[in-house]
């Protein structure tokens, strides 16, 4: 099976062709919103961070910024900074350059002479970049070029019964085609980490899986909190999930059945053609999706039992539910109904092929429901409070 995508100068293949207006900090985020509104074909997001962060915290922000610019769905990036923030322009540009050689332009608001002059400069750069991007022709590529991020949000019992096993089937099929699948959400490995560790390709990866789970639990305990305080959520419980362990045992089905070949830290760049890999991310959906997209995922497959609208500025998000009631009430938000697996009206083989086809279609340009609604919400994970 093949798809039509965009070849980038760094060798990666994109499935969208966007120009990113990247805010280096919260102080540039309103400016990038105004710039992006003036440039059809551009995207931006609200960066809440970028300043007043301790080192480890700033690193998460830097990795998401660099990863978004390097994501192959992006043709090129206009970085906009205020000028005095911790995420200095030269640091952001260096971090991007370490991941990709795609086009990049810089605008520093304080040096440009204030908001209006900065907007004028950035809009012109961005319009020029969009015009260049629009000349690109799509080419045919094998599915092995795809990195698929997997996520579950607003989970209920049907997520573990149908939607996540279906995503696991997709993961197995994609790995067989030579592609890459990312399993995320470390907090939702808790209670099932031994099952993932058994599938580690090496003893080092086995130990890393336990390490990221214990590290996450300890980090919360250090501030006197427990992971269970907000997880499962009220909606998870209303949907039949009782404990975090039960939720986790459903969650990890998204990883299918193949060996775990690597464990990546939050938002680090994932090597293509790696098979199944794990990324250490929160259970919080927008910040977990952001990390996988920063890692290079061109598309995200997302299960939801309760019905979650999540999109992303860079990558299309394909929504799947195993809950027949949710599909009936929220069809405008959901791309695929996995509930036939529960009621025996379709087999896993049938639905797995349907989902693989849908992923290939979306890769070739088909709009997802979240894209058609214009959903682009995102968040960046945090280590601790601002300083």
């Amino acid at each position: 099976m093949k798809f039509y995508g965009y070849k980038r100068p760094d060798g990666r293949v994109g499935i969208r062709n966007k120009v990113l207006i990247l805010p280096a900090s919260v102080c540039a985020s309103d400016t990038t919103r105004i710039i992006s509104q003036q440039v059809v074909g551009s995207v931006t997001f609200n960066n809440q961070n970028g300043c007043s962060q301790v080192g480890a915290d700033q690193q998460l922000t830097m990795d998401v910024m660099a990863g978004y610019a390097a994501n192959p769905n992006v043709y090129g990036t206009v970085v906009v900074s205020l000028g005095c923030e911790n995420c200095q322009m030269d640091l952001v540009v260096k971090a991007i350059s370490e991941r990709t050689n795609k086009p990049i332009k810089q605008v520093i608001i304080q040096e440009a002479g204030g908001t209006l002059k900065a907007i004028d400069m950035a809009v012109r750069y961005a319009k020029e970049m969009v015009a260049e991007a629009s000349l690109l022709q799509k080419e045919e590529f094998p599915l092995s070029e795809l990195i698929v991020g997997t996520e579950c949000g607003g989970s209920d019992t049907t997520s573990g019964l149908a939607a996540n096993p279906l995503i696991g089937r997709l993961s197995d099929l994609l790995v067989k085609e030579g592609g890459t699948s990312i399993l995320s959400e470390t907090t939702e490995f808790i209670g099932g980490e031994h099952l993932l560790a058994r599938r580690a390709a090496t003893p080092e990866i086995h130990d890393r899986i336990f390490e990221i789970v214990h590290r996450y639990e300890k980090a919360l305990q250090m501030v006197g909190e427990e992971v269970r305080e907000g997880n499962p959520s009220p909606g998870n419980k209303a949907g039949g999930l009782t404990t975090l362990e039960e939720k986790s045992l459903g969650c990890i089905h998204k990883g299918g059945h193949t060996p775990v070949n690597a464990v990546y830290d939050y938002a680090k760049q994932v090597d293509p053609k790696s098979g199944l890999v794990i990324m250490d991310t929160p259970g919080n959906d927008p910040s977990s999706v952001a990390a996988m997209v920063a890692g290079g995922a061109q598309v995200v497959v997302f299960s939801t039992g309760r019905g979650t609208p999540t999109g992303n500025p860079i990558a299309p998000v394909i929504k799947i539910t195993g809950n027949k009631l949710t599909f009936a009430t929220m069809e405008d938000n959901i791309d695929l109904d996995a509930s036939p697996l529960i009621y025996g009206t379709k087999t896993m083989e049938q639905l797995g092929d349907e989902l693989l086809n849908l992923v290939a279609e979306v890769a070739s340009g088909k709009q997802t429901k979240a894209e058609s609604l214009g959903y682009t919400e995102m968040a960046i994970a945090r280590v601790c409070n601002y300083v």
Binding site: T157, I190, T242, E245, E246
Partner: protein, 95 residues
Amino acid sequence: MVNAMIIEPIDDVVVAIEAIKKGEEVCYVLDGKTLNFTALNDIPIYHKAAIHDIAKGEPVRKYGEHIGVAACDIKAGEHVHTHNITNHRENLDAK
């Protein structure tokens, strides 16, 4: 009519795949055989019901794994949820 499903044969609970009323039969298929028990409470759709008695303090199994511990004695047919299961963090490193 089948209105519930079991995930692994060793599980202590089934999942209702339709809303089940108190006093109705809970009906699921295991190894090709249809099995029944009576619901002691209303079981909302996609919630769990106990297949057999579970003593207080015993682990509760779903997916063939422990999802928590019985907070009180649970009778066969009872709705199993946050009111009668407590969290229990196990050390899984050696498992």
